[in-house]
């Protein structure tokens, strides 16, 4: 597993989000994460079924303003409501490391 490190050169617009551990609600489009915990029992079952539970490497494809976070894992894409996203712990993976 790749270790999270300080991001060296990110565009200014994305600069504020540097998290070793954070929740999915902080995800921005284009970022990659490893899921570290799903805090909601029902969502955990669904996450396992879709292959997005603990240990899964996911990619945020869109962040709908004030709305859901859109995630992709392999060819599977799902939309997660903002409130639920706050209950999903992730670890940011910086590309090129």
């Amino acid at each position: 597993m790749m270790k999270p490190v300080e991001q060296p050169e990110l565009p200014v617009a994305e600069a504020p989000v540097v998290c070793a551990t954070c929740t999915l609600a902080d995800a921005r489009a284009g970022q990659r994460f490893v899921v570290t915990g799903v805090g909601d029992a029902g969502a955990r079952v669904t996450a396992l079924r879709f292959g997005m539970a603990e240990g899964a490497c996911i990619h945020c494809t869109a962040r709908i303003p004030a709305g859901p976070i859109v995630l992709r894992s392999g060819r599977q894409e799902i939309a997660v409501g903002r409130e639920l996203a706050k209950l999903i712990d992730v670890r940011r993976v910086i590309e090129g490391t």
Binding site: A29, F50, T61, A62, I64, G67, S73, Q76, E77, L84
Partner: protein
């Protein structure tokens, strides 16, 4: 297996049934159609509103199940699928070759259950186009069951699948899980049920008189690891850059681009349903029925009963069972419902619907719902009855409560929209605009109030976004054809009863009496002609009946606006009332009926007064 026999008996499913299982939107019903041919039988699963489709392949019964992501009891569709699966002799598991990471999770659960099965690797052509290569031979080896590549929409691979069903066998289960299962099976007698008990399924545990197990997390996690491993071995996917599809997908969900796209869609729907079908097609079909069918029936009947007699009125009068009922069913409802289901199937097949859900999530959250509720709400635009049945997909009782009320009060159904669209051509543009503004305001206020007062908690959105694709015409026609057929069968009876009811009111003179009694309300409060009472009574039979009633009255623009607002908010039709009673119970229904009638008249009267203040005609 013995536990499920009653349900199977009730559905007339014989022993040795082949059951189709798969995730939603993998082409399961197309595979079902290809296996069984034309004769199918649709019935409700006992004790539920979930429909089960049954057909025959030679001597064997074939049963289709609702699309599910896993076998358990998280919602009604899953429980139905679970019980059908538990009674299956053999399973055809339909998987989408493009989404094996998702679909194989269910496949491995079925393998762990130990029921003989075959895997149909469907949409093989689409997978190739998407740059996904699946090693069928290796998948077959690793799963331990026959795997057949199919392109069901084109009928490819169906012959091979039929042959493979004879060679169905239990798949390779998780070896460590097998040890645990071995012991648990001694208690339940069936490995499939033992697995569900271990996974914490309370219903199955209770049936077996044992306590539900607490191994779900462990079993699911191990299963997920096995799926990822399998996919890693059998799938070779080219990684491609952000394609147009991926961009389009994001545009559909972002408000800035998504709202205009949704507006265009709704405009197209309105043009097709309201203008083309409700205007031109219905104009023709209804005209045809009125100028050929009705005179024919009346001509023949005049020889048997005197015009004006009770029998004549019931059969061929203004609301006659042989005149108005078929004219309305065939001339008006059939074209509208067909148009609506065709559009809806196009939306479903293209994958746009869940993206609308993501777009609307923020707005619906403030009404106590989540984005998923757009699906019943859009269906409600077609038919409130249909929409109410679909509230099942919502995650909590609270959401089902709110969505049902919103639909019954503030969402006009397609038949009603059609009549209202026709009425609208008679009024000035600002009256039409006022109608929409009032309706949206009501929708938002009712939702906001219900979100405050309804107990419980709403669930958050978590929805699968299937790959966008051009709808496949064969699939769309098949799906919508089946739905139209079921729907027409369902409403015909209610319609007949409605027509009889109105004729009874007419023959007994009750209609005139209601007109007199309701005078203070219709004339005094709403400032409409006394005949409006008839339209409201008819509106209870079917919402569009009510709106249509205003056609023949000579109303001013302002009266039309009042009439349209009142009749839209007025109680849902008899068919929806029945479904609401069945789904939500009588207390809910009584509250809803009083609430919507009260709100309809209150607002209608207020609109009438505001117009008068503004100096309208």
């Amino acid at each position: 297996m013995a536990h499920c026999a009653p349900a199977f008996d009730a559905l007339g499913i014989r022993e040795g049934a082949v059951v189709l299982v798969g995730n939603p939107n993998v082409g399961k019903s197309v595979v079902f159609g290809a296996l069984t041919g034309t004769y199918v039988d649709v019935s409700n699963f006992p004790g539920t509103t979930v429909e089960i489709t049954k057909g025959r392949m030679g001597d064997v019964d074939v049963v289709d199940t609702p699309g599910i992501y896993g076998v358990s009891s998280f919602n009604e569709e899953e429980t139905v699928a679970r019980d059908v699966v538990l009674g299956a002799a053999r399973i055809v598991n339909v998987v989408d070759a493009v989404h094996l990471e998702r679909d194989l999770f269910l496949t491995l659960q079925l393998a762990d259950m130990g029921i003989p099965m075959v895997v149909a690797l469907n949409m093989a052509d689409e997978a190739r186009r998407e740059g996904v290569a699946v090693d069928r031979d290796l998948l077959e080896d690793l799963l331990g069951v026959p795997v057949v590549e199919t392109v069901a929409v084109k009928g490819e691979g169906i012959g091979g699948l039929k042959v493979a069903i004879d060679h169905a066998r239990p798949g390779h289960a998780d070896p460590e899980l097998l040890d645990v299962l071995c012991e648990a099976t001694l208690q339940t007698g069936s490995r499939a049920e033992a697995l569900l008990v271990l996974e914490g399924d309370e219903v199955v545990a209770e049936r077996n008189g044992v306590a539900p197990g607490g191994m779900r997390d462990e079993i699911y996690t191990r299963r997920r690891v096995r799926v990822n491993d399998l996919v890693g071995h059998v799938v070779r996917a080219e990684t491609r850059g952000a394609s147009l599809k991926a961009k389009l997908s994001v545009w559909m969900m972002r408000p800035l681009t998504g709202i205009p796209m949704l507006a265009v869609l709704l405009f197209v729907m309105y043009e097709v349903l309201g203008v083309l079908i409700a205007g031109k097609v219905v104009g023709f079909t209804e005209g045809f029925m009125n100028s050929y069918w009705v005179p024919l029936v009346r001509g023949v009947l005049a020889h048997l009963a005197a015009p004006g007699s009770t029998v004549y009125t019931f059969l061929a009068g203004e609301f006659g069972v042989l005149t108005m009922t078929p004219t309305y069913l065939i001339g008006v409802i059939l074209p509208l419902v067909t148009g609506f289901y065709l559009l809806l199937s196009l939306l479903e097949d293209s994958g746009y619907l869940p993206r609308i859900a993501a777009l609307a999530d923020r707005a619906l959250t403030s009404l106590g719902l989540n984005g998923r509720a757009v699906i019943p709400l859009i269906l409600g635009l077609g038919c409130v009855t249909m929409g109410t049945l679909t509230t099942r997909i919502l995650g909590s009782k609270r959401e089902r409560f709110i969505a049902t009320a919103l639909m019954a009060i503030a969402v006009p159904c397609s038949a009603q929209i059609a009549v209202i669209a026709a009425l609208m051509t008679r009024v000035a543009w600002y009256d039409s605009l006022a109608y929409f503004a009032i309706l949206i305001a009501i929708f938002v206020s009712v939702g906001t109030v219900l979100a405050r007062i309804t107990p419980g908690e709403s669930t958050a959105l978590l929805i699968d976004l299937p790959t966008l694709r051009l709808p496949r015409p064969g699939n769309v026609v098949r799906k919508s054809g089946l739905k139209v057929w079921n729907f027409m069968g369902e409403v015909a009876g209610f319609f007949l009863v409605g027509a009889l009811l109105i004729s009874t009111l007419q023959v007994t003179g009750a209609l005139d009496w209601i007109q007199v009694v309701a005078r203070p309300l219709t004339v005094g409060w709403l400032r409409l002609p006394p005949q409006a009472a008839t339209a409201f009574v008819m509106g209870f039979v079917r919402r569009d009946f009510g709106a249509a009633g205003f056609f023949t009255m000579h109303l001013t623009d302002s009266q039309l606006l009042v009439a349209m607002v009142t009749i839209t908010l007025f109680v849902p039709c008899i068919a929806s009332v029945m479904v609401i009673l069945k789904e939500r119970g009588w207390r809910y229904l009584v509250g809803l009926v009083f609430g919507s009638v009260g709100l309809a008249f209150l607002l209608g009267g207020i609109v009438a007064r505001v117009i008068a203040l503004l100096g309208g005609a």
